[in-house]
Symmetry: C2
Subunit: 147 residues, 2 copies
DNA sequence: GCACACTTGTTGCCATACAAACGATTTTCA
DNA sequence: TGAAAATCGTTTGTATGGCAACAAGTGTGC
């Protein structure tokens, strides 16, 4: 029971919303999404994540793509559908496994990703702008351990 | 380095999705939401945030409540509607300003909040569990500066 | 006193996010 | 081999979260 003043026994448990990790995470995420959509209006953050992963790994099944981008099967389906409608990815049946749907980056998708890559990196920097370089490293290291 | 000039020099700009702040934030948030819904299935994180704020400040207008919990006017309406359906908050017209809708914590709402307060604090601790106390303080301080 | 600007709440649309249920297919193993 | 288990994609339902447009009410300046 070490390290938590204000709790553990029979104390009143003051609850300060503004100091809760979940609330702070939500606000930081909101700010980041705002910066992103301002700089890259063509696609959303999750859509861009899918493009980035496809550019990294090449064609993969839809389910596998979802797992590698931290998306539920239902969620990745919606994202892929919208990217397909935008012409940025294509889908094809897998001849070896008829359950599988292989997702591929189209030429337009690859082009858009390459064209916005530098901007996306700038967005990450802008999100972390209030911190100095050393603090950014610390934050990223700590956050990564919570993921 | 102002603006988003496509690329400062002509560097290749490697883009690693897993090292981007937005992606890490999303994954940490997912883990937190999972811990929360497991421990407090009755309401969602945003709904609990509204209960907490109401418990702190007493009755307020719906719009003001939204601003003080970082929610869009459209979002806070949905949250209040669902909390009202659960009987945890009540709404009443403001006699002085007929546009205003005053939101109040009901007895059940106040009771639920008091009963789950300690659990909610435990959820915050669980989310930060992979870090030691000193690291938790650093993370919260840095994150707060990004909000 | 009155046009104009602002605020408040509402609605609709789109995009995640997850749970649950389902059909089709593939794999496993008794 | 053949039934059970696992996987894959889909659909539905619920809940955020943002944007845009809107009506109604309030306030201000002239």
């Amino acid at each position: 029971m070490e390290g938590y003043p204000e709790s553990t026994m029979d104390k009143p448990h003051r609850y300060s919303l503004d100091e809760q990790i979940g609330y702070v995470l939500r606000r930081v995420t909101q700010r980041h999404l705002s910066i992103f959509s301002e700089a890259i209006p063509e696609v959303t953050t999750t859509q861009f994540a899918v493009l980035a992963r496809l550019a990294e790994t090449g064609p993969v099944s839809q389910n596998h793509l979802g797992r590698s981008t931290a998306m539920d099967a239902a969620t990745i389906k919606g994202v892929v559908d919208r990217l397909a409608k935008l012409g940025l990815v294509g889908t094809a049946a897998d001849p070896d496994d008829r359950r599988r749907l292989t997702v591929t980056l189209t030429a337009e998708g690859a082009e858009l990703f390459e064209a916005r890559k530098a901007t996306a990196l700038a967005i990450s920097r802008d999100t972390l702008a209030p911190l100095d370089p050393a603090e950014r490293s610390v934050l990223m290291a700590l956050l990564t351990r919570l993921a």
